[in-house]
Symmetry: C2
Subunit: 393 residues, 2 copies
């Protein structure tokens, strides 16, 4: 079959070697990766098959990860991954969502067959994709293995991007620019919220004239009016925009699962004074903080700098103000590694990509104006150049 | 705050009571529900906040489930759930993706504070949203509790739909009809795959002239050419359709997270004879099987009837041929309860909704033609009336 690979083999090999390095330093001989984004990162495998159990196993003594998944998805691994046939293992359909037999029995058998049943095995314990039952089953099936927590191990490797990854993130950024423009242009009093949302998702997929996009890991978050007082609500499918609405836009573009997130806020009519004031404080604080960021500062120092801008303004932001992002699948484009908040000691380094996201939720409405940026050798660089303001229409 | 509820309070109460009945019959005093679709089913809560830990706890002795989630999402619970203020518990942001403190410590504290730390507690062990670390933490934090497996307990309650749920599924079906029509009409030689996919996702959200849709739990699966030899691949963002392409369409409409899935197949040019033959066998077998379905037959008998249609045709379908579906969030619209396959003893009953999905993947390409149906008092009823054929363009 004709493979279509998104990256060169040497890029995948780099990722595997850096994963092995981290494993070795933690005393881990094997790593079970169930997160579809991490599977994709290490192998290129890409399909909406992660609703059944699937994964890859990285070993210190093998240059290739070993893929396992549903038999009917194994052609997908042949087409999209860089792995050789010897490392693809499709399991029979009887394992799918069965009440009698569990996929981890299959995985344990695979490891035993390869003489790997007595190794130190890292597990993504606190990830989305390694559930409680999998853990209990593996623990039972591999009595001679030593199980270790490897939560976010691959995520930390992912956190520093290579030049070809940054190129896809730039492409995603161009898509995101179109997506945001589509939203800001089309939101008007009297227009159905659903119709703007439809245009937004179409822009995400249509991409640019040169290349297509991807569905981002988070559905467009675009609440209006009272719904903006909460984080993470989206459009109302049965409502039209009204005069006096504030509309929060937390949107993204994506390219081969690499993201570019961006938040902006629209007001229909004459905005209340306190919202205008919040907007000014946020935009000023955001830019001051961006000017401070460079390799060597820590994540918590960035948050501290941001917070110093709020002093005396009456604006408060009690949650974290940013997080690293990049290659991801649903339900989150965040990488769960670097957080801009007190206590995070991560020292920023070139190649890290962070979404600086100061979302403010007041009692009755919210304001968001974010910037995704790349840490460079000298400082940081915004991925997107979109006006920073409260958009009043 | 003005609540917007998708169902009446009595409908939510019915769901909670049926959940409590199942819990009681299994000797379970408490149930921790982390699946966002099940949270939504029991409470109405609806936001893209499930990338952080959140859940509801059902108790045998409380008419209301107890909601917990991130503090910044608690206004979302106020706006979308039927729960009273007393049952909403927002946790501080320091718990979010922390390396030092775990949300299950918060949950255990909540249970202990309410004097519920020594109860029998059911857990969605093999679901998507209850991970290994949560299990280990709860087990440690609640030494006096008895932990039980409650995988799919709420899913089984969900499997039989009420009339208002069926109404939303009919609305989703009308959306799905538009979505499929959009795809079949727009796929042409020379057209970018991404541009058709963009129109498809826009149709999913735009819905009908009367109401909007929702993003389905599975992104449109629409591979072309060689990529159809695998399940679950989607469009190629950098390719145009070519003469000789087969295109599989596994699409859905959704309304308030209630789904209507449908699969069809398009061929551009003159289809190979074996594909035409497969199409005829599948459509004939599908309709024969639908005519056989009624309350009282079992899931495995349905599959057997389907398989009897394949005898002597040379067509084989080794995986399950259908599953129950309804209300769901990413990554799957299937309910993980009824499967049309050997060994599934479920007796079909009115109100069950099943996606009969005979997908055939040959070496070089595949064919899909599915039907979602409702089990009625007398037999079954297709939700969608869309031509059953290989679409040749």
């Amino acid at each position: 079959m004709a493979k279509k690979q998104v990256f060169s083999e040497s890029e995948y090999r780099r990722r595997v070697r850096e994963t092995q390095e981290r494993m070795d330093h933690q005393g881990m001989e094997l790593l079970l990766v169930m997160d579809p984004a991490n599977m994709n990162y290490l192998t290129g495998y890409d399909g909406w098959s992660f609703y059944v159990h699937q994964g890859v196993i990285v070993s210190l003594t093998d240059e290739y990860p070993l893929w396992f998944g549903r038999e009917q998805d194994s052609n997908g691994a042949r087409l999209t991954s860089w792995l050789p046939e010897s490392h693809l293992h499709g399991y029979p359909d009887k394992y799918v969502q069965s009440r009698y037999i569990h996929t981890m029995q299959y995985v344990a058998g695979l490891l035993r067959d390869k003489g790997l049943g007595n190794k130190t095995l890292g597990l993504e314990m606190d990830g989305y994709w390694f559930n409680a039952k999998m853990f209990v089953e593996l623990d039972e099936q591999l009595p001679n293995a030593t199980l270790m927590d490897a939560t976010n191990l691959v995520n930390w490797v992912k956190t520093v991007k290579s030049p070809p990854e940054i190129e896809y993130m730039r492409q995603a950024s161009r898509i995101c620019n179109n997506v945001m423009q589509t939203a800001v242009e089309n939101i008007e009093v009297g227009v159905w919220e659903k119709d703007v949302a439809a245009k937004v998702v179409a822009a995400q997929i249509a991409g640019t004239d040169e290349y297509g996009g991807d569905a981002p890991a988070i559905f467009p978050i675009m609440p209006s009016a009272e719904r903006t007082s909460s984080a993470h609500l989206t459009f109302d499918p049965d409502r039209r925009y009204q005069s006096g609405d504030v509309v929060l836009l937390e949107l993204a573009g994506a390219r081969y699962h690499y993201h570019a997130p961006l938040s902006r806020t629209v007001f229909l009519g004459r905005p209340p004074e306190d919202l205008q004031k919040v907007a000014e404080v946020v935009v000023k604080g955001l830019n001051d903080t961006l000017s401070y960021i460079k390799p060597g500062v820590t994540a918590e120092e960035v948050e501290e700098r941001w917070r110093s801008n709020l002093k005396g303004t009456g604006v408060e932001k009690p949650s974290r103000v940013g997080y690293s992002y990049g290659l991801n699948f649903v339900p989150d484009w965040g990488e769960h590694t670097v957080s801009l908040r007190p206590g995070d000691k991560t020292v920023l380094q070139p190649g890290m990509t962070i979404h600086f996201m100061p979302g403010i939720w007041l009692d009755k409405y919210g304001f968001e104006n974010s910037e995704p940026f790349l840490v460079t050798e000298q400082g940081c660089e915004k991925f997107i150049d979109y006006p920073q303001q409260l958009f009043v229409k």
